[in-house]
Symmetry: C2
Subunit: 334 residues, 2 copies
């Protein structure tokens, strides 16, 4: 009989936590006990899991006894606060926050790319940033042909990247615009309906945002490219779900478009979707509610003979967060 | 007494034509007679101009007698068909279509950048592509400090770039989504509401679209940079008005962010809007219905020591089309 695992879900009421619940069920993850955890405010409410209603408990340092795997779907602060309680309990902590991603002793894992890193964990495994996961899955097959030296990236990030309140705010603004009512912006810095906001995360001293720097920092660690340079511009767009990324990728030696396309077509987690005669290219409309990164618009970078331009889209709540975390856990099940 | 000019407006009923009418009035262009021209279908309807109603006439080869300046706001086909009738009548043809932009004997002009080229015309002056105008205005001050060698560009183009029917289609789709009705897509290849479409124009043999190649071809001609290389990805976004552009600009020698910012701040047609502490960066929400290109998010390109990353927005119906054409005409008035 196959082993089953006790799973604690830290942040069971958030957008990523809710997605994890349905994905654990959808992927038939061998769950023995599910322990949904959240803030005191949500404790006592139910979550639905495999036809059962399970009571949410308040997340405290005593919540993790008996857990085999703890999924973290909360902010960095709470992840930091509870990490030692989790690892001391003997569980593996698969954390979706940015708290530990760049720690030397914490693997940062995309299972299609660097599953071997996961095995080196000392209790914590970090789940990368959403745009970074999607971009890394798309460009890794190219990097295997010739290591990537640099990328210029512009993102088109959906409002669901800001949690469940993001789509609610966009929808409320869309309705307010139609009714000529006042527009309220709480989740985003400005109105996002019919607008674009080139500001995700916090500005750093180099005038990039922390979100923009993740593509270089986390990308470098995941792809095992210590010298990777990435100039990234992150932009919030009025799309509900699926992040899109426009990238120019420069490799050490020249890679043909044919070779890159073939490699992407064969790579796990990727779908080559690139036929101009059939108007086939990735779009949020067709890539949401899936675990696959769609890659298309492959062509020679006209500014660099070792460059390739491409466009990719993926569901950032699933592959960009919840699915990737569960795939990491699947590396450890019998 | 100042001279007044007879102005024919070819395409008086379209989005750009309508904008030209209101801009001729707003800018107090010295109009003697206005001759609004359109297809037979629109002939006989009225346009409003300076408090008068003026009857639209059908555009034919006989429409241009007595005109001093003809503004073209129609497709390339009709521009080509009527061009010789216009120039034979002695008028200057300022054409917004792509028909003549790359002809050696046709100046391609952004008045803030290369007004001197306009004077070399042989009857036709071409108005550049909208994204190209906006990008060129933003990067020209940098190119004056050190010539631009290459740019990697991703665009975020508003639906009004597709003419008056673009915003109508987006709005209809937004309403249909709220009502759970069927989505109809006629103007765009796919649903644009809550979606992104990385396909504007027609695909060429090099797998770029003609829209994407305009930034290199037209940018090179306007900026007098014969060797300019541009890798561009053009994306339609669910925004009503104002195109946005994310660009990494590589110059021959290094330009500091401080010098680039100062040059942009002083340049005509530009507004430096770049203060992270005040959350000041260009957005479609604040740049529409204006003639100025907003430029912000200036920072070092991390992939190239001679590179600068920036983000700019401008109203593509105005500065990207109608305003630029009228500014060209203003170079010729007393």
């Amino acid at each position: 009989m196959k082993r089953k695992y006790n799973i604690a879900l830290l942040g069971a009421t958030g957008a990523v936590g809710q997605e994890m619940l349905s994905l654990l069920e959808e992927r038939n993850f061998p769950v023995n006990n599910l322990i949904p955890l959240a803030s005191a405010r949500s404790a006592g409410k139910d979550v639905d899991f495999c036809g059962e209603k399970i009571k949410i408990k308040e997340a405290t340092s005593n919540s993790f006894a008996g857990a085999d795997i703890v999924f973290g779907a909360v902010g960095s602060g709470l992840s930091r606060e509870l990490a030692s309680s989790i690892t001391n309990s003997g569980a593996i902590f698969i954390d979706n926050s940015s708290a530990f991603r760049m720690n030397d002793d914490v693997p940062l894992v995309v299972p299609e790319i660097n599953p071997e890193d996961a095995k080196k964990h000392k209790g914590i495994i970090a789940n990368p940033n959403c745009s970074t996961i999607i971009t890394a899955v798309a460009v890794n097959p190219i990097s295997k042909l010739s290591p990537i030296k640099s990328m210029v990236v512009s993102t088109y990030q959906a409002v669901s990247g800001a949690g469940a309140a993001g789509p609610q705010e966009l929808l409320a603004q869309v309705k307010a615009l139609l009714a000529n009512d006042e527009i309220k912006s709480n989740v985003f810095q400005y109105q996002i309906a019919e607008n674009l906001i080139p500001h995700i995360g916090s500005f750093l001293d180099n005038d990039y945002t922390d979100e923009e720097m993740k593509l270089q920092r986390e990308g470098s660690k995941i792809l095992h490219l210590p010298d990777l340079k990435v100039s990234c511009t992150c932009v919030r767009v009025p799309v509900i779900r699926s992040h899109s990324i426009s990238a120019c990728v420069v490799t050490e030696s020249q890679v043909s478009i044919e070779a890159a396309s073939k490699a992407i077509d064969k790579a796990p987690g990727c779908k080559l979707y690139d036929d101009k005669t059939k108007k086939q290219y990735p779009m949020p409309l067709i890539t949401s509610n899936q675990d696959i990164v769609y890659v298309g618009r492959l062509r020679k970078d006209l500014t660099n003979e070792n460059g390739i331009a491409l466009w990719c889209c993926g569901d950032q709540v699933r592959k960009g967060a919840a699915t990737n975390a569960i795939q990491i856990a699947e590396l450890f099940i019998d």
